[in-house]
């Protein structure tokens, strides 16, 4: 993602802190930065959320419109997730259609929601074979402070939790909330010099050998995983990350139950 050069001196500093069990901002390895979630921030969207995770800032809008179902699933609604790494958010993001980084992020956010069956797609059917609700999840990254993945995922879930199916506008009855029946929470870890840290800051992310995102559902089962980056991980590391990710997700999920 980044093609900025990080000074060796800086890498050394973060590495030395890591060896002492410390992080630059004073967090412990499994600690998340301050997370704030605001919902209903965009009135034109059927659901919306603004998430700040440390210095990372994203806005998610959920737009819901009737449309035609896919031919192989005639009685199921459609979820489409898109993510824009707009140039406003970082000196290294370029204008243009989403490239592999943005696409990967969008697809992993999508996978977490889809595979946890958070939305019962059959409840989004209006007329089988003809009309279903299309749920567009659009993630707009405004400021990259590291770990866009989790910030985007939390934004998507928060926006869905507070979204309504706009039936009235289309003369299809009364507005109802989007039928969400699970709350998938993603937890992203990075590996630096053999140590595992959660919720990487921008520099931690750039220096890390690799990243692993684990999304778990309310029952504590794994719904989605994605390793992103070149460096290999050992089985022990992966198992460890899965364990702490499920634990951490329970903690973070608390924030969503009050939305």
């Amino acid at each position: 993602m980044s093609n900025e050069i990080i000074a060796e001196l800086r890498k050394d500093y973060i590495y030395n802190l890591m060896v002492r069990g410390e992080r630059e901002d004073g967090r412990s390895f499994d600690q998340y930065r301050e997370l704030t979630i605001e919902t209903n921030v965009i009135n034109k969207a059927e659901g919306s959320a603004r998430v700040k995770l440390g210095d990372t800032h994203v806005v998610v809008g959920v737009k819901i419109q009737p449309g035609t179902p896919f031919p192989d699933t005639p009685d199921q609604g459609v979820i489409i997730t898109n993510l824009e790494l707009i140039p406003l958010a970082s000196p290294v993001f370029e204008s243009g259609p989403p490239r592999e980084d943005a696409i990967e992020l969008a697809r992993v956010v999508d996978r977490g929601i889809r595979e946890s069956q958070a939305i019962d797609l059959s409840k989004l059917c209006i007329t089988p074979g003809e009309k279903v609700w299309m749920v567009f999840i659009d993630v707009h990254v405004l400021d990259d402070g590291g770990n866009i993945m989790d910030a985007s995922s939390y934004g998507a879930v928060a926006a869905l939790l507070t979204a309504t199916l706009p039936a009235k506008r289309y003369d299809l009855g009364e507005d109802t909330p989007v039928p969400l029946r699970n709350v998938p929470i993603s937890v992203t870890a990075v590996e630096i010099g053999g140590s595992i840290m959660l919720d990487p800051s921008l520099d931690e992310q750039s220096i890390a050998g690799t990243k692993l995102t684990v999304t778990s559902n309310q029952e504590g089962d794994v719904s989605a995983m994605q390793k992103s980056g070149v460096h290999p991980l050992t089985t022990e590391q992966i198992n460890y990350i899965v364990d702490i990710a499920i634990e951490k997700a329970k903690e973070i999920r608390e924030k969503f139950l009050v939305i």
Binding site: I5, I6, A7, E8, L9, R10, K11, Y13
Partner: protein
Amino acid sequence: MDKKLVIPGEFLSDDPSLADEGTYVENNKVFSTVFGIASFKNRVRVVPMAGKYIPKPGDMILGVIKEVTYSNWIVDIRSPYDGLLHISEFPRRIENDEMSKYLKLGDSIMTLVRDVDANMKVELTLNDQRLRPIKEGRIIEVTPSKVPRFIGRSGSMIALLKNETKCNIFIGQNGRIWITGKDNGMDLAIKSILKIERESHISGLTDRITNFIKEAKGEKIKVKKPESEGILDELLGDEK
């Protein structure tokens, strides 16, 4: 009053002969070009609150190697313009294919701006005994226009920081600051510098920073065991 916060286009003076940096003259009047602090002592100038570093010959700065070509190191100097360090400006005679051995991608250097031409081609040099690659310590970044504030009116601010934290501090004109010393000292120096940057526009800065540092060191005394020798030891921490 001799200082004022101004926005671009704000009227400053009727006397064009007083116009200095950060201003422009139109219709025989002087206006501000930037958002910053206007000062009216002698000449009329505006120091911007933000802005990029634009290199000038003679500037001593801190750079990071971003590319190694056949005969040049291309250096990130925190400016819209990259610095070029030609192989002949390295203090030793080396071969072109050895360049990465001496300075590679990501290495930090203290360097001097030798020349800037009309096309903003920036030539750097390491041919000066003050200059060197940087292998230890930490480098932090502050707004280049605030650099003079750190130096203080007679170097007093930086002397204060160096004495109280027992660190060596070099302030690059490009807003990069290099600090070396013991971990505790460096942490305190960095916190103080960031505080100076945040509060550079507020008067009484020297006193506030002095108090800030003394308080920080005072806290350290309370935290440590009572048998410790004195402030110096607290600051330097245990030798490992």
